[in-house]
C-alpha cells in the first residue's frame, strides 16, 4: 500500500496540494525546523564535548584487540541466545497455536490460559524467577527459556490469527476431500497462515532479539553485559567510558534489528506477488 504522505505533494488526507503561498509557508517552516533540529543536535554535541566525552582517552580502549574481541564475544552470545530462543519460540508457538485451535475443550482452555499468562507477564520478572529457581549457574538457559515462553505465546497468537484469517472455503474444501483435521491443518491451513504471517513472525523475532539484552540483569555475557563490564572500569584520567560504550553498543543493536526488519520486508514484498496478501498487526 503506498502511503498517502509520500505521494509527492499531490494528495494527502491532511492537506491539499500546496498553492504558491502555501509553498512559501512550507519553505519558511522547513527552514525553521531545520534550524531547530540543528540546534538540538548542536546542543547534544556541545554537552557531550564540554563534558569531555570526545576526549581520545575515553575512546582509545576500542582500539585494543582484547576489547574488540570481548565485544565480538558479546555479539556472538547475543546471537546464540537469540537463535535458540527464536527456534524454540517458533516450535512452542506452533504447539500452542495447535492447542488453541483444537477441537478438544480442555486442551483449548489449557493453551489459552498458558498464552494469556505468559503474554501478560513482564519478561524480566519471568527470567529472573527462572534464574533464581532453576538456572542460577547457567543464566543463558534462564534467558532462553524466558524468551521462549513469552515469544512462543505471542507467536502462537500470530499463527492462530493467520489461520483464522484464511477463507473458510479452504478448510471446507479439504474436509470435503476427506482429509482429517490434522491433515487439514498441516497441509492446508498452516502453510498458508505461515506464509501470510511470516513478516509479523519476523517482526516478533526483532522483539526477541532486543529482549536478549535482559540477560544483562542475570549476568549472562551478552552484548549489553559486556558493555557494562567495559564501561565500569575507570580509565586513568578520563573517567568511566559509559557514553562511548552506549554510542558503540546502540548502533550494533540497531543494525542487527534493521537487518531482521529488512528480511521481513523482503519476504513481504515477495509474498505480495501472490494473491494471498495480508497486512499483519504490529508486534
Amino acid at each position: 500500500m503506498s502511503s498517502l504522505f509520500t505521494r509527492s505533494g499531490s494528495a494527502s488526507v491532511l492537506y491539499d496540494a500546496p498553492g504558491p503561498r502555501a509553498r512559501i509557508r512550507y519553505r519558511v517552516f522547513g527552514v525553521l525546523s531545520l534550524l531547530g533540529i540543528a540546534a538540538l543536535l548542536w546542543y547534544a554535541y556541545d554537552s557531550l564535548a564540554s563534558n569531555g566525552q570526545f576526549d581520545g582517552g575515553l575512546w582509545d580502549l576500542f582500539q585494543y584487540t582484547a576489547i574488540q574481541q570481548r565485544i565480538l564475544d558479546g555479539v556472538l552470545s547475543t546471537l546464540k541466545a537469540f537463535g535458540l530462543a527464536a527456534l524454540f519460540s517458533l516450535t512452542l508457538g506452533a504447539l500452542l497455536a495447535a492447542g488453541r485451535l483444537s477441537d478438544h475443550r480442555p486442551l483449548r482452555w489449557a493453551a489459552t490460559a498458558f498464552v494469556q499468562f505468559f503474554r501478560a507477564m513482564p519478561l524480566l520478572i519471568l527470567i529472573v524467577a527462572l534464574y533464581y529457581a532453576f538456572f542460577a549457574k547457567n543464566p543463558m538457559w534462564a534467558l532462553v527459556l524466558g524468551l521462549t515462553l513469552y515469544n512462543g505465546s505471542v507467536q502462537a497468537e500470530i499463527i492462530r490469527s493467520g489461520v483464522n484469517a484464511l477463507p473458510r472455503g479452504q478448510s471446507e474444501a479439504a474436509f470435503a476431500l476427506g482429509m482429517r483435521k490434522s491433515q487439514v491443518m498441516t497441509s492446508i491451513l498452516v502453510p498458508q497462515a505461515v506464509r501470510s504471517m511470516l513478516p509479523a513472525m519476523i517482526g516478533q523475532m526483532v522483539v526477541t532479539l532486543k529482549d536478549t539484552s535482559l540477560g544483562y540483569v542475570i549476568t549472562y555475557g551478552e552484548l549489553l553485559y559486556v558493555g557494562k563490564q567495559i564501561a565500569a572500569q575507570p580509565l586513568n584520567s578520563a573517567g568511566f567510558p559509559y557514553i562511548p560504550v552506549v554510542l558503540v553498543m546502540a548502533p550494533i543493536y540497531i543494525l542487527m534489528c534493521l537487518l531482521l526488519t529488512a528480511l521481513a520486508r523482503w519476504i513481504e514484498a515477495r509474498g505480495r506477488r501472490g494473491a494471498n496478501r495480508r497486512t499483519p498487526a504490529a508486534a
Binding site: 529472573v128 532486543k210 504490529a282
Partner: protein, 216 residues
C-alpha cells in the same frame, strides 16, 4: 503463599505496586504526548520534520529498552544531568514507547480514505474542521486496538526500571528473594499484580472501543 502477610511484606509489596502504576501512568502520558507530536511530524508537509520523526522512530524502536535505561541511567549523569532514578525511568520508558505510539497513530491516519477529507474540503471545511471533525475521529477509532497493545506492554516493560534502582514490583521481587523467601511464592504475588494491571488496561480500552463504536 502467606508470605505477603509477614514482617511488613505487604507494605513493601503495596508500595512497589503503586510505584509500578505511577511509573507506568506518567510514562504513558509522556509517550502519548511525544508520540502524537512525532506522528504530527511524520505526516507534516515539511521534509525536515518528517526526517526527524523517521529518525527518532528508527532509533528508538530498534534499541533494546534495557540499553536505553542503561544509557539514561549512566550516560546522563556523565553529562552532568542529575535526576532521580524515577525520572530517568520515565524518560527511558516514555521515549521508547513514544516511537510505538507514533507508528500506531500514523498508520491510523493512513487508514482514513482520501475521499473523506476531499469531501470535507469540498463542503468548505477549514483544515482544523477537516482534521478535528472528519479525519481524527475515524483515525482514533481504528488505532484503539493497536494502541491498547502498546499500553498493555508499557507496564510490563516498566519492570526493567526495577533493575535500575526504582522501587517497583521487580524490585520487590528482588528484595524478598534476597530475604530468602521462596521464589515461587514471590513470583505468584508479583505475577498476580501484573495480571491485574494488564486486565485493568485491557478493560479500559474495551470500554473506550465500545464508547467510540459505530454501527456500519
Amino acid at each position: 503463599m502467606g508470605i505477603m502477610f509477614e514482617n511488613g511484606n505487604f507494605a513493601l509489596f503495596r508500595d512497589g505496586f503503586l510505584q509500578t502504576i505511577e511509573l507506568s501512568a506518567i510514562s504513558a502520558v509522556l509517550a502519548m504526548l511525544l508520540g502524537t507530536l512525532l506522528a504530527a511530524f511524520r505526516v507534516s508537509p515539511i521534509p525536515a520534520l518528517r526526517a526527524f520523526g523517521t529518525g527518532w522512530v528508527t532509533i528508538f524502536r530498534n534499541t533494546p529498552l534495557t540499553l536505553l535505561f542503561f544509557a539514561v541511567e549512566f550516560g546522563l549523569p556523565a553529562l552532568d544531568v542529575h535526576f532521580s532514578h524515577f525520572t530517568f525511568a520515565v524518560l527511558a520508558l516514555g521515549f521508547y514507547t513514544a516511537s510505538f505510539v507514533c507508528e500506531v497513530l500514523r498508520s491510523g491516519i493512513n487508514t482514513v480514505p482520501l475521499g473523506q477529507a476531499e469531501a470535507a474540503r469540498s463542503l468548505g471545511m477549514t483544515f482544523g474542521q477537516t482534521l478535528g471533525l472528519v479525519v481524527l475521529p475515524q483515525a482514533a477509532r481504528t488505532v484503539l486496538p493497536p494502541l491498547s497493545s502498546v499500553f498493555i506492554a508499557l507496564p510490563r516493560n516498566s519492570a526493567i526500571a526495577g533493575a535500575f534502582s526504582v522501587d517497583e514490583l521487580y524490585h520487590v521481587q528482588q528484595t524478598l528473594s534476597e530475604q530468602g523467601y521462596s521464589i515461587f511464592a514471590i513470583f505468584f504475588w508479583v505475577a498476580l499484580a501484573y495480571l491485574v494491571i494488564s486486565a485493568a488496561v485491557n478493560l479500559l480500552f474495551r470500554f473506550l472501543e465500545k464508547l467510540t463504536a459505530v454501527a456500519r
